[in-house]
Amino acid sequence: MHRPSPFLFALHDLKQGFSKSSLSFELAVEDLRDRYRRSYIGVAWIMISFLAFIVIKQVVFSGLALVEGYDFFSHLVIGFTLFTFMSAIIPGAANLYFANRTWILSSNLPYVLYINKLIFHSFIELLLVSTVATLLIVIFGDARPANIWTILPSLLVYYLSAFALCLTLGPIGARWRDSVYAIQAIMRMLFFATPIIWVASPGTVRETIAKWNPLTYYLDIIRVPLITGEIPVEAWLVTTSCTTLLLALGIIVFTATRKRIAHWL
């Protein structure tokens, strides 16, 4: 062992990391428990915080009829639900190795373990928020869901994109610490540049912003079937292309940097 080619070494990490998926899940659950231990209602705070945002948004922006006949409430709820996942993954991917610095410098566990821990953690939060979102939509929304089965392949796209982002941004964040803060700043901006609290009405600046923002398409592959029942073909083309490109880039970056990451921490 010990001086394999960079590609074989990265491949070994991937293989070992996936073989420890159950440990990644256990650690993700423990992270979540840790955050809310000594709290009476625990992880329910995640749902309460989500609910508070939706309520305040509806109160402050009520009266802004955006598109006639369009279920904006469901648009908002689903959009914010999915953005919860994105806003955990993207900055988390950049900060991945610093967040696990002690582990990396004290054990030879595969780095993919930490990637899956972050993704599983974010998926658990997404699940919790989704239960509140589903209730809200059923009670207050006017969605006409169809083709709901597309959620499953959509979640696979989410997982693969999140994984690829971690492969790509993780080493960059470890090598150039400023990139972590830059990505956190961009993420705050992206919330307003993504059609969550607004709709990309045709012929507006918002439509242009939404068109060039890849997160729009990631929202649409889940949101459009749930609200209108249609399958957004363009969004699927964009997201699958992005995922493929990100995976290719991620494998290149991870292969090139895997051996050096520990030295940057």
Binding site: H2, L23, E30, L105, S106, N108
Partner: protein
């Protein structure tokens, strides 16, 4: 987990770890020693310089040297945490390390849950974890506190739990930085016996320490390091003497 100690070996061949420092040399994030070499306008850190040795089953190696000479970096290389820039490290047997025995402990989780998590991290199966919990429970003598969160433990209780877990998982090749201790005077004999049993389960032990007595008790071979280089490799007594002479000179 272990494969059978008689087949184990650990071999380092011309192991070198070096990398370029940023201008000004500030960016050495990890606290590692070694030698800084200037090359024109840039600098390179040679953390470990062409170290070679071979250990067979039944041999144990003590790493000797002043702070910052590269002992911990070499341990991390042997544990697979760092990869050598050149040279190679070959081993047979399950390599484990106790470089940070409290790694993975969660203050908010119970002692029992922390033991189980450490077992999972070490790759144990559920059935083995039950045995691990029973073993540590018996050693640490925490009674009902085992089901209380770790943050409620005194320093001594916490040290007993950490030591109990760290010495419960057997490895063929064991990498140790300094000596594990339970920090509890009332348990000293029990701790010493458990530590001796733990080390004896491993076919090969590599230990970095500043204690000559500890190195003599545990190791058969010694490797003296200076600025990342191995300046002496031989029997432990000779290595300790060499280091003592070098310190005087």
């Amino acid at each position: 987990m272990a494969i059978g100690k008689e087949h184990s070996f650990l071999e380092a061949q011309s192991v070198r770890l070096e990398y370029r420092l940023n201008p000004g040399g500030q960016r050495i994030a990890s606290p590692i020693g070694g030698e800084i070499v200037r090359q024109g306008s840039s600098s390179r850190l040679i953390a470990v310089k062409d170290v070679s040795f071979k250990l067979a089953a039944g041999e144990s190696l003590g790493l000797i040297g002043h702070n910052g000479c590269g002992k911990t970096t070499l341990l991390r290389l042997l544990a697979g945490i760092f990869l050598p820039t050149s040279g190679s490290i070959r081993s047979r047997g399950v390599v484990g390390n106790a470089l940070n025995p409290s790694l993975g402990f969660r203050p908010e989780a119970t002692g029992r849950r922390n033991i189980a998590l450490k077992g999972l991290i070490s790759g144990m199966r559920r059935s083995e974890i039950d045995q691990l919990v029973a073993d540590v429970e018996d050693f640490a003598e925490l009674g009902p506190f085992l089901d209380q969160p770790l943050y409620t433990y005194s320093a001594g209780m916490r040290a007993r739990l950490t030591f109990g877990v760290a010495t419960a998982i057997p490895f063929d090749v064991l990498i140790l930085d300094e000596w594990l201790g339970a920090g509890d005077k009332s348990m000293q004999e029990k701790v010493a016996a458990r530590m001796a049993a733990f080390v004896s389960k491993a076919a090969i032990v590599v230990l970095a320490s500043h204690s000559a007595a500890m190195l003599r008790d545990t190791c058969t071979k010694g490797l003296v390091m200076n600025h990342g280089s191995a300046v002496f490799f031989g029997d432990i007594d000779a290595a300790i003497d060499y280091y003592a002479q070098a310190e005087k000179a």
